[in-house]
């Protein structure tokens, strides 16, 4: 009797009428982590999406310039006339495949409807694309940025299987645990109080206000220079894409290469 109770439900010895799954289709060897971090912040009439340009596998640096932030729906290779930005961090091959699929979708939308796809629609479509691969996911954390119907900066953060949310700011990737708390404090002004406004619960919290583009760009640079100090997978260069009503501007800053 004890032997029957000691059955391990995960061994073949139970003898189900179907064989146990083999290790084929095992996703363990289908992924790698290429490191790096990305970060997005929105303002009143702009959105900034930035990422470092290092590509790693394990302790190796593959390359010092592999961009992680892409223009979506542009005319040609240069991304002219694009109006949406996408950043992908995690497994770079999945990231690139995801970017190309979304790019194709946004272009097809334009050809079929004769107008550019809105960022809200694009955000929902990206979630659907990610969820379609729920059981063999794109191993990436994506961030989508653009300008909404009212011309305000819009930013959407995703998990690998398509859960998404519109946010003021979001960091993803290897150093997200270093950058996100910094953004909580500096963008959403968490744990910041107005001095002398009261005692205990009466103490008034500072209210977040829309920031200027200069302030946002400086925050992004500070976030990355700090992340580079403490995370080995982040470094080499900072690629920053800024989207405004006038189009997309690309800024490159060197980071430490150690």
């Amino acid at each position: 009797m004890t032997s029957l109770l000691s059955h391990n439900p995960h061994t073949n010895s139970i003898g189900y009428s179907f064989a146990q799954p083999t290790n084929a289709g095992n996703t363990e060897h289908s992924y790698t982590d290429n490191g790096g971090s990305v970060l997005g912040i929105t303002g009143k009439d702009f959105a900034v999406l930035a990422g470092d340009t290092r590509s790693t596998s394990g302790y190796n640096i593959n390359s010092r310039y592999v961009p992680k932030v892409f223009k979506i729906g542009g005319e040609d290779e240069t991304g002219k006339d694009a109006h949406i930005l996408l950043s992908v961090v995690g497994f770079a091959a999945d990231g690139l495949a995801l970017k190309e699929r979304l790019d194709a979708v946004v272009k097809m939308y334009k050809y079929q409807h004769g107008k550019p796809m809105g960022v809200r629609a694009c955000a929902q479509r990206l979630s659907t694309i990610l969820y379609q691969k729920r059981f063999f996911p794109y191993y990436v954390q994506a961030i989508l940025a653009g300008l909404d119907e009212e011309g305000k900066g819009a930013l959407y953060g995703y998990d690998p299987v398509g859960s998404y949310e519109r946010e003021q700011c979001r960091s993803a990737g290897a150093a997200s645990s270093l950058i996100m708390p910094f953004l909580d404090n500096q963008v959403n002004l968490k744990n910041q109080y107005i001095p002398g406004s009261g005692e205990g619960h009466a103490l008034a919290a500072r209210k977040p206000e829309p920031m200027s583009r200069e302030t946002v760009e400086q925050l992004v640079r500070d976030a990355f220079t700090s992340a580079v100090e403490r995370h080995i997978e982040v470094g080499d260069g900072l690629q920053m894409l800024v989207i405004t009503a006038n189009g997309i501007e690309e800024i490159y800053h060197p980071l430490k290469k150690d």
Partner: protein
């Protein structure tokens, strides 16, 4: 009776041993190519003024056995590109057949466009990514050397997962650990590719191959080296690593701390 319906009516494991369910239908795909068999080691490459140099040794190993000593792991694609393969040799031959058929089709086509190295790299990386997504990977890490559509030197890598990246110098396998640091020291980022001569690039690759031969147990001293310039492709096969000096080996005892 227990709560595993699958065991009901079957011989008890504790009496007859584990039930052999191997005759039952299996689920999931076949697993023949879930690991490499006969493999080639590093490929190394570097860009220089007006072209790209790429090299790989001529060995195909079967585990630790040096199985085939005359395998050419650099393959020409028309006169547009050279592809260097490391990893499984049979998968290399499959990809080579694939490229052969594309080359023939492209040459018979009427559009008159020539595929360049960048096009080829895009194609190969998508083949590799498709196969890994089907859980049936082509077990290779490849380097593609040639020119892009603007006639600028092009060098890029693609691996069995479909990961791609590009840099002024690249190496696969052991070369990523041993050759890349040498190449990064010889050709730092501040030095533009325009300042690197063909001769310098070739001698750097030869130095790297020698270090790999000294320290990579799955390497050999016979190698192939290809030069891609606007004038065409030169492939030098059956080259020999020259000026070998094994004197350093005498002084290596234990893991370094040992002196007697």
């Amino acid at each position: 009776m227990n709560h595993f319906p699958g065991t009901w009516g079957r011989p008890r494991d504790d009496v007859y041993g584990p039930y052999d369910s191997s005759y039952l239908q299996t689920t999931g795909p076949k697993t023949h190519t879930q690991s490499p068999a006969v493999t080639g080691t590093s490929v190394i490459a570097v860009k220089f003024k007006g072209g790209v140099a790429i090299a790989a040794d001529n060995l195909a190993s079967y585990g630790s056995l040096a199985r085939f000593t005359d395998v050419k792991r650099l393959r020409k694609f028309g006169d547009a590109a050279v592809i260097g393969f490391s990893g499984d040799v049979s998968d290399m031959q499959y990809i080579d057949r694939l490229l052969e058929s594309i080359d023939i089709r492209e040459n018979y086509s009427a559009h008159g466009n020539q595929l360049n190295a960048k096009n080829l790299h895009t194609y190969l990386s998508k083949v590799l990514y498709k196969r890994r997504s089907d859980f049936n990977p082509l077990w290779n890490h490849i380097l593609v050397a040639g020119f892009d559509s603007e006639k600028k030197p092009f060098l890029s890598s693609a691996d069995l997962l479909g990961t791609t990246f590009s840099a002024p110098h690249l190496a696969t396998g052991f070369g990523a650990h041993l050759a890349i640091p040498i190449l990064r020291r010889l050709f730092p980022e501040e030095r533009s590719i325009e300042e690197i001569s063909k001769e310098e690039a070739v001698s750097a690759l030869k130095d790297c191959l020698k270090v790999l031969w000294y320290r990579d147990a799955r390497s050999m001293d016979k190698y192939s080296l290809a030069l891609i310039t606007q004038d065409g492709i030169e492939v030098h096969e059956d080259q020999q690593i020259e000026a070998q000096n094994w004197a350093f080996a005498e002084s290596i005892k234990g893991y370094g701390a040992q002196t007697v």
